[in-house]
């Protein structure tokens, strides 16, 4: 029997054929929406970068995961409000990578909110939006849609759904920063944070948990400082500049919040093989209803511009 041998010529022909097949597959892929009208996905925009990608990677992890705020709301018996979420049909409006990045964060937060409130089965269209936006930004490989889709059939899988979702967002952020596409990672983080704060400032809160939630809102002052630092890197893009200025207006509201830090010595002890910290230090947030209202109004203004 003659053994097939790949000559140089046949390899070349095969490679060309592979290229054609690849192009054929790409041409056949369904074109959901318009191509992005900006170049955000291809490179960082800033020419006078103040922060390196490495530094951005160190700071961006300070933007809180929406799980923390949502768990606080749920444990405080705050009622779930579907109307607060970004309608899934809005995805058709997002034709720039700037908008897609921000709203990937927004929909990601909505997903977390729905899951923590056991609305897992209703998340399908939100899952699809996250998948589509991630693919548009060429980071779809980090979002395990098939597994999430399957797990979302039962509310018993909430922890697994949340884990896979958050792992995906971590993976996207790390990958984008390593690829020199930090601007997109910063926008996703910003969208995530704004949506989380929008939900927290718009749900119906009743005593006795009102003070606890308001304090958590006030503590976001520190996060905003970090976000402004990250955003400042890309201000020579006019879209970034506009968002940066909106966040500066939000900072004016947060500047009315005062946080006192009382330092006491911390100790550690080993309990069941764990190092347990005994924290005698504490922080006290001074925030009243009027300040919360001011923050809420500015957050709503920014959030509506993001999702429109």
């Amino acid at each position: 029997m003659k053994t097939p041998v790949m000559t140089k010529k046949t390899v070349t022909v095969s490679l060309m054929l592979s290229g054609f097949i690849l192009l054929f597959f790409m041409a056949c892929a369904p074109d959901r929406r318009e191509e992005a009208t900006d170049l955000l996905s291809d490179r960082d925009i800033s020419e006078d970068i103040q922060l390196t990608d490495e530094t951005i990677g160190e700071i961006i992890t300070s933007v809180p995961n929406p799980v923390e705020m949502t768990v606080l709301l749920q444990r405080s018996n705050v009622v779930y409000t579907q109307d607060l979420l970004n309608p899934t049909a809005n995805i058709n409006n997002y034709n720039t990578n700037f908008k897609r990045s921000l709203n990937l964060g927004v929909y990601g937060t909505d997903l977390v909110y729905m899951n923590i409130y056991d609305r897992t089965v209703a998340t399908l269209s939100y899952l699809r939006n996250v998948k589509n936006l991630a693919e548009d930004l060429r980071i779809g490989q980090f979002f395990d849609y098939e597994t999430l889709n399957r797990l979302s059939e039962s509310s018993r899988n909430v922890d697994s759904v949340l884990y896979i979702t958050n792992r995906g967002f971590d993976g996207m952020s790390n990958y984008l920063i390593n690829q020199g596409r930090s601007s997109i990672a910063v926008l996703i983080a910003t969208g995530t944070w704004i949506e989380s704060l929008y939900i927290a400032t718009n749900v119906q809160i009743h005593p006795p948990n009102k003070e606890l939630i308001h304090q958590r809102i006030g503590e976001q002052k520190v996060v905003l400082d970090n976000l402004l630092l990250l955003m400042s890197n890309f201000r020579n893009d006019e879209q970034f500049e506009e968002l940066f200025n909106d966040l500066l207006d939000l900072k004016k509201e947060f500047d009315k919040v005062s946080i006192q830090y009382i330092y006491e010595e911390r100790t550690t002890k080993v309990v069941d093989d764990k190092v347990v910290v005994v924290d005698n230090s504490r922080s006290e947030v001074n925030i009243d209803d009027e300040i919360v209202e001011g923050i809420a109004q500015q957050v709503e203004y920014i959030r509506n511009k993001i999702v429109e």
Binding site: P4, T61, N226, D273, V277
Partner: protein, 149 residues
């Protein structure tokens, strides 16, 4: 027969070109470890992962990989890590506030590793997680931050 083999080769090449990029992106250090580490969550809820890959640099001072986190008062956080067993390095995770060391997973005096740090936070604010590999050995690890239910 030759045509069949060629066709197979062409399809295989196309598949490699089509899927190769995304596979390469997925296969970075930390992804599989994150899933392994997930099993150590116990009664806590996953918040964030911190993949760290370290290349041994002979004679160089040990590199510290830093990540800033905001921890909230009234929440108990759990910090732990997992090492890639195919590499010699073992990661040491330390929690700092400013220059102050709050806790670490490695006791230099007893040379003992601890699997978890648990921190019921009294003071909200900025903290830093520092990752470094014992004896500056080559390693791959993933750190995890979770909240205790």
């Amino acid at each position: 027969m030759i045509m069949t083999n060629r066709l197979f080769y062409v399809i295989a090449m196309a598949a490699w070109m089509f899927f190769g990029y995304s596979f390469e992106a997925k296969a970075q250090c930390g992804d599989e470890l994150t899933d392994v580490c997930h099993a150590k969550l116990g009664d806590s809820r996953f918040i964030r992962s911190f993949p760290v890959q370290h290349t041994e640099r002979r004679g160089a001072s040990p590199r510290v990989y830093k990540f800033e986190v905001i921890l909230n008062r009234g929440t108990t956080y759990r910090i732990f890590s997992c090492n890639d067993k195919t590499k010699p390095g073992e990661v040491i995770v330390s929690l700092y506030q400013g220059d102050q060391l709050i806790a670490t997973t490695y006791d230099v005096e007893t040379e003992r590793f601890f699997p978890y740090i648990e921190y019921p936070v009294g003071m909200s604010g900025r903290y830093e997680l520092h990752f470094m590999f014992k004896d500056n050995m080559e390693g791959c690890a993933v750190g995890m931050l979770s909240i205790v239910n």
